[in-house]
Amino acid sequence: MTTQPKTAFVKVGDTIPALTTEPITRTTLALYAGASGDHNPMHIDSDFAKRAGESDVFAHGMLSMAYLSRALLGYAPQSAVRSFGVRFASIVRVGEQVTCTGQVVEVFQANGETRAKLDLTATTSKGVVALKGEAVIALG
């Protein structure tokens, strides 16, 4: 279980433990479609995706955001997370792995607590940035 990072030990430039996923398979996407409730066929039906002009199905953006959340929760417990947001920069395709990284960019006071802002990035195994995000966590 992750413990809340302490103000005394957190400084700008600190990095969070990186997380690299297994290659994304059609099974990954089918499971995510079922669990998330997002049944858009662009993610699970290759025939549909090809008719729409794509080379194949591609991953739900929210799956990559969930991977990024796992990396975040490897650094701070969920009870400390005040906000979390991403911009989806490019599509993640079947067969690719996603590597999630992050670092502290600011430590500040808000609402009577010390908080840290993290820049977060998800990069595919082809070296393409798929997600750029940020999170604010409360420090202990």
Binding site: E22, L31, G34, S36, A49, M62, A66, L73, V81, F88
Partner: protein, 150 residues
């Protein structure tokens, strides 16, 4: 076809409510590769000090989209779902949510704009999430991108 801004800017979806289901949380944990047992096992969650299994950070979006026929809005707006991409998603968290909580989602279209001479259209979906005690637990903001055909 451009989105009808007169109709849809400021449009409020009918609120929907949904109870967080423990089985679904364990399915979600499996789907995203989350192995921390607090997200699938009640005993582990309680040992870690939680009253129940926590809703993981991004799943509040799945609950938001959990209304019957989630893509009806796109149909009503005349959007082909094979042309959409998720542009951005943001969450502000105010209170923890656990399995067994009942959440109510109030969603409004708060912005519509386009880029590249209309080749890309965007709409912003802002949602207030409250629990069974009417407490605000989260605010979700998502941007949907529509890739219009040239």
């Amino acid at each position: 076809m451009p989105i009808d801004r007169t109709t849809f800017l400021g449009y409020e979806l009918p609120p929907h409510s949904m109870t967080v289901d423990a089985w679904r949380l364990s399915f979600f944990a499996k789907a995203i590769g989350e192995t921390d047992p607090i997200y699938s096992d009640l005993a582990a969650a309680k040992t870690a000090g939680h009253p129940g299994i926590p809703l993981p950070p991004t799943m509040i979006f799945c609950m938001e989209q959990g209304r019957p026929n989630a893509y009806k809005l796109m149909d009503d707006m005349g959007i082909d779902i094979s042309r959409i991409l998720h542009g951005e998603q943001h969450f502000a968290y105010h209170k923890p949510v656990y399995a067994g909580d009942t959440l109510t989602f109030a969603t409004k279209i708060t912005d519509i704009y386009d880029k590249k001479g209309g080749a890309l259209e965007f709409f912003v979906r802002s949602t207030r999430v409250t629990n069974q005690d009417r407490a605000l637990v989260a605010e979700n903001r998502g941007v949907v991108v529509i890739r219009n055909l040239a």
